[in-house]
Amino acid sequence: MNGSIIAHLALKDWRLNRLLIVLTVAVGLVALLLAQFGGLALVLGGIWFFVALCVLGSMLPASTIVNERKKQTLAFIMSLPVSSIQYTIAKMLSIWALFLVPWLTLLIFALVLIANGHVVPHGSVPMLLMLAMLPLIAFCLMFSTALVGESEGWLIAASIVCNSSYWLGWFLLIRIPSLAANLKAPVAVWNAPAITVLCAELGLIALITGLTLFFQSRKRDFI
């Protein structure tokens, strides 16, 4: 055996999707730089920043999971010495990494800009993190739906639910008084509600991931 098959499959997804990642990072960086001008540019930059992550979250499951079935390349992959659960793990590793690299890059860049700039108050950092977790949760849900549901229809349904729920998440978070009160604070305030929301978001991601592995391990027919 030449190395781990899981690593080979994960690397393969990286090679096939690197252009999408580069484009997402580029659009996200331009959006963040635009936001530095303040005013309307801040609003536009903020929107583009989130849209770039949301679009990536929808496109990755489509291009790496649904298209593999639709374009019938899955049979090629499953002819290799790999089980369905190893395929699932390889997909999880590669797609998570494909999403996390631009997500983290853009988030770190945003934090650096906030720390060194004067346009966005430092008190908005916890809210930025909580809001940035929403595309991550949505990506996780769409990815799991595509993997377990095995169809474009299920992915489109998940995508509609996620994309139409962002505003609700933003609305609910900004309406929590103890979070909203610190938005314009000169320093980041990590109070109990902020920590609770972040933990709940991480817990939701862990739950979706666990359920995905559970359902995949119970599948009897893979193609």
């Binding site: 030449n2 393969k12 090679r15 019938q72 390349t73 090629f76 002819s79 290799l80 790999v82 027919d221």
Partner: protein, 298 residues
């Protein structure tokens, strides 16, 4: 080490509109088995179960000594699988796919891969999306053959190919079999392709294996007898004859266990045997399926 490349016993799989029913299959090492069936007969389901991609509801499956689907990873190191509905990545080149497979399999034979590129008229720097159907099938086969698997499982590999491409692929498969340790399971609804390269032939219909034996045994045992039957004579049901179609004074009897005495037996009833004809594999397949369906309906 077992002498069987693959073995299925009592394998069943139930879907809403289709059931694979107690399939038994044995392929000795070093042989080529042709699996012939009409569209929807159960060939692909059988092959997917063999590959561990679909789990059987009942029955035992062993491939190269490994129990399937539990030991599919170990088994698949030595299985080369290609199917008619398998596609490569459109946006990537054949060379990229070759490197990908080479990085996984230490058994990859680079010089053989180059030889196959030349024989199949392919170029490594061509993107898959620019290839014709025949070139895509050849590319998939190249990726399978160059890693020298012990068992080749090919699900309708020649479907949709032009005669030249079919000939090239069948010639390559025949050469591959020069290695006596290598086994092939080859499914098709094209009996000519199967007849050309197989040692052993299995007919499958409506989810059931209806017959399985050596190719030569089929060709030896199946005959068509053309008879002239005088008025007033009824042809008897003779052992080894699966069907008689009579129109006026002419009758055609199809035998699946022909012996020379069969012609004498008809002569003794007063009928005259005009000729005894060999049957092609396609004719044997069609007659076998029709007979099997009649038996099921009765």
């Amino acid at each position: 080490m077992t002498d069987l490349a693959l073995e299925m016993s009592g394998v069943s799989k139930k879907y809403r509109y289709f059931t694979l029913d107690k399939v038994d299959l044995k392929l000795p090492r070093g042989q080529i088995m042709g699996l012939i069936g009409a569209n929807g007969a159960g060939k692909s389901t059988t092959i997917r179960i063999l590959m561990g991609l679909v789990h059987q509801d009942a029955g035992e499956v062993r491939v190269l000594g490994h129990s399937m689907p539990a030991e599919q990873v170990a088994a698949k190191w030595d299985i080369g699988f290609a199917s008619e509905d398998m596609r490569l990545y459109d946006a990537m080149t054949l060379g990229w796919h070759m490197n990908f497979i080479r990085s996984i399999y230490s058994s990859w034979d680079a010089s053989y891969a180059q030889l196959l590129l030349k024989r199949f008229g392919l170029r490594a720097d061509h993107k898959i999306k620019g290839l014709s159907h025949g070139q895509r099938v050849k590319s998939a086969l190249l990726l399978v053959l160059a890693r020298k698997p012990k068992l080749l499982v090919l699900d309708e590999p020649t479907t949709g190919l032009d005669p030249i491409a079919r000939h090239e692929i069948l010639r390559e498969l025949t050469e591959v079999m020069a290695n006596e340790d290598r086994s092939v399971l080859f499914s098709s609804h094209n009996t000519q392709d199967v007849e050309q390269i197989s040692d052993h032939i299995t007919f499958i219909d409506r989810g059931r294996v209806i017959d399985s034996m050596d190719k030569e045994a089929y060709l030896d045992r199946w005959r068509r007898l053309r008879l002239e039957v005088p008025l007033g004579i009824d042809l008897p049901a003779l052992p080894g004859v699966i069907g008689v179609h009579q129109r006026g004074r002419l009758a055609v009897a199809t035998a699946n266990a022909f012996v020379p005495d069969l012609a004498n037996a008809y002569e003794s009833t007063g009928a005259r045997v005009q000729c005894v004809e060999n049957m092609t594999l396609e004719e044997i397949f069609v007659a076998n399926v029709a007979h099997s369906r009649e038996e099921v309906e009765v």
